[in-house]
């Protein structure tokens, strides 16, 4: 029974998450017009690309480490390193792109959302392991 409800929740969660981008974009376009929506889209896409660095595939290692070879703090530390690397690349990218201040700000905020996302991954994986 527990497995079944877990499955439903998991599917629902994935569904909402994949809708998130579309919903945000709809709101953005309706409220601000197409130009801002364009900036939003390119920034969101940048965040997605950089997310690959911040993600590093750490979660896969973490949830399969059932013998606890590495401690939570080791994973957290490696996540910090990955995120620092991600932010460094983000700074280089944003500077090199020559964006206007407004564009730069939006881009950075959306990258920061990815950072939070990455940290939450580490904790989620830990809870998944403990369960």
């Amino acid at each position: 029974m527990e497995k079944k409800s877990g499955f439903i929740w998991n599917t629902a969660g994935s569904f909402v998450y994949s809708l998130l981008n579309a919903i945000l974009l709809i709101f953005c376009t309706r409220l601000n017009g197409t130009e801002i929506a364009g900036i939003f889209s390119i920034s969101y896409a940048t965040g997605c690309i950089l997310n690959a660095i911040g993600d590093m595939g750490i979660r896969i290692y973490q949830v399969t480490d059932t013998n606890r070879k590495y401690s939570f703090s080791d994973y957290f530390f490696s996540r910090c390193l990955a995120v620092i690397l991600m932010l460094a690349v983000a700074v280089i990218f944003v500077i090199a792109s020559g964006y206007t201040n407004e564009k730069l700000f939006i881009c950075f905020i959306l990258i920061l959302i990815r950072v939070i996302d990455n940290f939450s991954e580490t904790f989620q994986a830990e809870f998944q392991l403990r369960r």
């Binding site: 590495y70 401690s71 703090s73 080791d74 530390f77 490696s78 390193l81």
Partner: protein
């Protein structure tokens, strides 16, 4: 020689004629009465022995003892010095370094005051050629006392050189020896053997010792046999600790010490050998995991522990994480690049 000898200073001498006079001058002029200077000429091929004899003739009232022997390495030389020492306390200095004139006096008074087995002073790290002081270390511990029954882990924050410390003579005379002394890291291991019988350690704030370093210091290629002999010696020390009542409580500290010196410091020195470094690092990891497994989970290397305890080193705790995550090689590359590019000196 009716005066009671309070402090015996043991100076191993080998190939240091350029610096020996500076060192000896600082020793013969010590403000403390009753100092004995035991120089161990370890078969030095240069003029060191002549210089020592010259000092002995010039300062007849200063109790200079010269032990001239064939080259056997500094480890055996130190034990010869300890056997010859007649003082109440013993200290070591290196013959290319020098000390302040109140070195013996302050350390002696501090040890006497608390009836401590060991007293530790601060020291300066100085450039040999320019006399530029890079850093002042081991200060700020004044008032701190280590009771080996209560907080033995605190020894991890003490520098592992034998100088800048004064030892009760009986402590050294009764200490255990190693059959096969290590070829490198010998100071650290000697000190571990001393700590085994130590009860209390006191600290003084003043830097009293000038530790000379060379900027272009190429530590020389470390040979494989040297590492192996040193690794065996460290295991021997662990066995000695395992058979001792006080030592049993300190096994985690030994493991952490092994990690700090073999895992971090020695690997840093080995990293210049780019060809074999990967293999060396792998062997090193296996050695540590097999012989000293407790370092991995030790709380003394935790970032949170190092934030809460003064004296514990946050940088070391971070490097430990890097090592655990198999990123030490990459870390060293970045670290060395930063040092070379920005010409900065990072204090450890």
């Amino acid at each position: 020689m009716d005066k009671k000898i309070k402090v015996s200073i043991i100076v191993p001498v080998y190939k240091v004629e350029k610096y020996l006079r500076r060192s000896m001058d600082s020793l013969v002029n010590q403000t403390l009465d009753g100092v004995e200077i035991i120089c161990i000429n370890d078969g030095s091929p240069d003029n060191c022995l002549q210089i020592l004899k010259e000092y002995k003739e010039k300062y007849t009232d200063k109790n200079i003892v010269i032990i001239d022997k064939k080259n056997e390495g500094v480890w055996k030389g130190r034990f010869d010095g300890i056997r010859a020492a007649t003082g109440e306390y013993i200290t070591f200095t290196d013959s290319d370094d020098y000390v302040t004139l109140d070195y013996a006096e302050k350390l002696y008074n501090a040890a006497k005051k608390d009836n401590s087995d060991i007293s530790v002073s601060g020291f300066y790290r100085v450039d040999t050629d320019t006399e530029h002081i890079y850093s002042t270390e081991m200060t700020g511990f004044e008032g701190k006392k280590i009771d080996m029954n209560v907080n033995p882990e605190e020894i991890l924050s003490i520098n592992t050189a034998l100088w800048n410390k004064l030892y009760k003579a009986e402590l050294l005379k009764n200490m255990k020896n190693l059959e096969n002394p290590p070829r490198i890291l010998d100071d650290m291991m000697f000190l571990l053997l001393v700590y085994l019988n130590t009860k209390t350690i006191t600290f003084i704030n003043d830097p009293l010792y000038y530790y000379m370093v060379r900027q272009d210091s190429i530590m020389g290629q470390i040979k494989k046999e040297q590492i192996e002999s040193t690794e065996r010696a460290m295991v021997d020390i662990k066995h000695i600790y395992e058979q001792d009542e006080q030592g049993k409580k300190m096994l985690e500290v030994i493991d952490v010490m092994a990690f700090l010196h073999f895992g971090i410091s020695l690997m840093f020195r080995m990293s210049s050998d780019k060809e074999n470094f990967k293999q060396v690092l792998k062997d090193n990891r296996e050695y540590l995991n097999k012989e000293f497994p407790k370092w991995r989970k030790s709380k003394y290397l935790n970032i949170t522990y190092s934030l809460k305890h003064k004296g514990a080193n946050l940088k070391v705790a971070i490097v430990k994480k890097v090592y655990v995550l198999h990123l030490y090689k990459a870390f060293l590359a970045v670290y060395k690049w930063i040092l070379n590019t920005f010409k900065i000196d990072i204090k450890w």
